[in-house]
Structure formats: structure tokens, C-alpha cells
Amino acid sequence: MKSTHLSEEQIQAMVFEKKTDGAAAVHLQACKYCSDRLKVYELIFDRLEDEPIPAFNFRIDNPVPAAKKIKTKGSPIPFFVFPSLAFILSVFGLLGYLSAFYKSTILVNGLIVATAAVCFCGLLWDLVRRNQQKLNALEDQILQH
């Protein structure tokens, strides 16, 4: 007699996809067993949908600052090196020319000191900038944890 009952596929289709053919609906009204089977599915999966969404008990690291750091690491030569080098070479070229032309040691010394001062300021500024970057990266990491 079991073959006359609705199949498991039919019951699930009725509950989850709201698919009912006429004969199945008629059978369901007359058969307590199939009607109970349908109710059991409804009852179980009703409870299932009430369950809260699980949550992670840890913070997900943000890879964006890390990627930026990798990019910075990828260019080992600071951007100011080539212009500075060009500047220093020009200054020394000019110095050589002027000292030969005027035969003046004061001018030569003055220009040497000025060039050294400019280079020193550039290096100092770069040192501060790099340290600031490191501090920012460290701060990002601390915030993420």
C-alpha cells in the first residue's frame, strides 16, 4: 500500500517549491499519513530558518595597507635621488668652471657649503618622511588587532 502514498520528492516539492499537482493535493486531503509527513517537513524547516547567523570571534585583517606597504618596498631608490644627483653634479660642474674662470676660493667654498646644506636638508626630510610612514603602518596594524 505504501506505493499509493506520495513520494518523498512530491512532499518536498510541495513544501519547498510550492509545486502541487491536482492528484497530489486530493491525496493529501484524504491521507493523514502523507499530510503528517508534509507537516513534519514544515515544522523542521520552519525552525531551521529561525537560527541566528554565526559570527566570527576574531577581526578580519584588512590587506589594503599591507598591499600599499609592499608597493613602497618595491621601489628601493627614493624619488629625490636622481634630481639631487643631477643638482649636485651641475653645482660642482659650475664650481669647477667658476673657480677656473675667477680663480676665487671664497666663491668655491661658499658653493660647496651651500650644496652640502641642501643635501643634508634633503636627507633629513626623507628620514622624517620614512619614519612617519613606518609609524602610520604600525598604527594601522595595531588598529586591526
Binding site: 515544522l43 531551521l48 554565526p54
Partner: protein
């Protein structure tokens, strides 16, 4: 925020956009990871891998699906590879048919008896929920994931198919078996508790 805008901000290395991406997809990723990975300690590394991989490959996202579905597929594939490495079976069939008829009658009768009494009804539903939670935990990882995606996340067959890369026919067949396994488990264990 639309997917296009979020992806553009991610490509511009906007850290806030990444936080937003996590916020929008965390529920789905958590559902997949919790259902597929039983070891709690491994989940953290997997989740970091999922989001790092999503960020790294965001430029390959072609807007052929929703961004959440795309992240879901990364989560599923990451967990799938993890299970393959651990040699965990994704699908395992269990049959508890012999108790079915008696179980249905018992559960249906209990449902009818307690529908009029609010307190008893609450107890009955709490008992049922406890059995159900254990039943889902005992499902094979793939079945638990499909049940979660369909019933908790309320995704369509098409979206689940995009996440799991399973054909829709296979997906429906797995969902059918998964629901049946849950029902069989609940009936069997409800009877045991009732005896």
C-alpha cells in the same frame, strides 16, 4: 552601495571599501565556513585566506554574478580545498528509514497535542531545535552548506550553483537528500527522547 562602485574603490586601494566588503559578505562567508569546517582554530586562517584572495583577485571580477556570490564561491572553494587536503568526505549517505513511519506519527501527534498550550509548545519547539542543530552538525559538509545557503541565506538555485559550481540538477538532488537526512535524524532522535 552598488557592486561596481565598491569594486572601483577596492581597486583604488580604499581600506574603508574593504571593511564594507567584509561587512556585506561576512554572514554568507561565516555560514559557509562554519558548515564546512568543524575545527574552530582552522576557521580564522581560512577566513583570512578567503578575504585576502578576494582582494587580490578583485580585478578579475567580471560582474557576471553578484559580488556576494563571487565572494561566496571563493569561500566555498577555499573550504573545499581545505577539506580535500584533510581527506574529509564531502558527501556521506545515511539511512534511518525503519523508524520513519512511527516517528512521523509521534511527532505529528505531539504537534497536535501541544498546539493549544503555549508553554508546552515552546518546550516542544526548543527540544526540536536542539535535535535539529545536532542533526545539521552531523550532516556531511556539502549537505550542511547547501542547506545553509538555501534555507538560511535564502539564495536561489542559480546563486548556489554559481557558488558551488554544481549543476542545478545535482544541486537539487543533493538538497533533497540533505533535507531527507535531517528529517530522518530528527525523527529517529525524537523517538529516542520520547521513549
Amino acid at each position: 552601495m552598488k557592486d561596481q562602485e565598491l569594486v572601483k574603490r577596492l581597486l583604488d586601494e580604499d581600506a574603508d571599501a574593504f571593511e564594507l566588503l567584509v561587512k556585506n559578505t561576512e554572514g554568507l562567508v561565516a555560514h559557509i565556513v562554519f558548515k564546512m569546517v568543524a575545527i574552530a582554530e582552522d576557521r580564522k586562517d581560512l577566513v583570512q585566506d578567503i578575504y585576502f584572495s578576494a582582494y587580490k583577485h578583485i580585478k578579475t571580477f567580471k560582474f557576471q554574478s553578484k559580488l556576494t556570490t563571487w565572494i561566496g564561491s571563493i569561500a566555498y572553494n577555499t573550504c573545499y580545498n581545505y577539506l580535500q587536503k584533510k581527506k574529509v568526505l564531502l558527501i556521506e549517505e545515511k539511512q534511518d528509514e525503519e523508524m520513519e513511519e512511527h516517528g512521523i506519527e509521534t511527532l505529528a501527534n505531539r504537534m497536535a497535542e501541544e498546539s493549544g498550550n503555549e508553554v508546552l509548545n515552546k518546550i516542544f519547539r526548543a527540544e526540536l531545535r536542539a535535535i535539529l542543530n545536532t542533526g545539521i552538525r552531523q550532516l556531511p559538509p556539502l549537505y550542511a552548506t547547501l542547506i545553509t545557503l538555501y534555507h538560511y541565506q535564502e539564495l536561489s538555485y542559480q546563486e548556489i550553483s554559481q557558488i558551488t559550481n554544481l549543476p542545478e540538477g545535482t544541486l537539487k538532488s543533493y538538497l533533497f537528500r540533505a533535507r531527507k537526512q535531517i528529517k530522518d535524524y530528527v525523527l529517529l532522535n525524537y523517538i529516542k527522547e520520547d521513549l
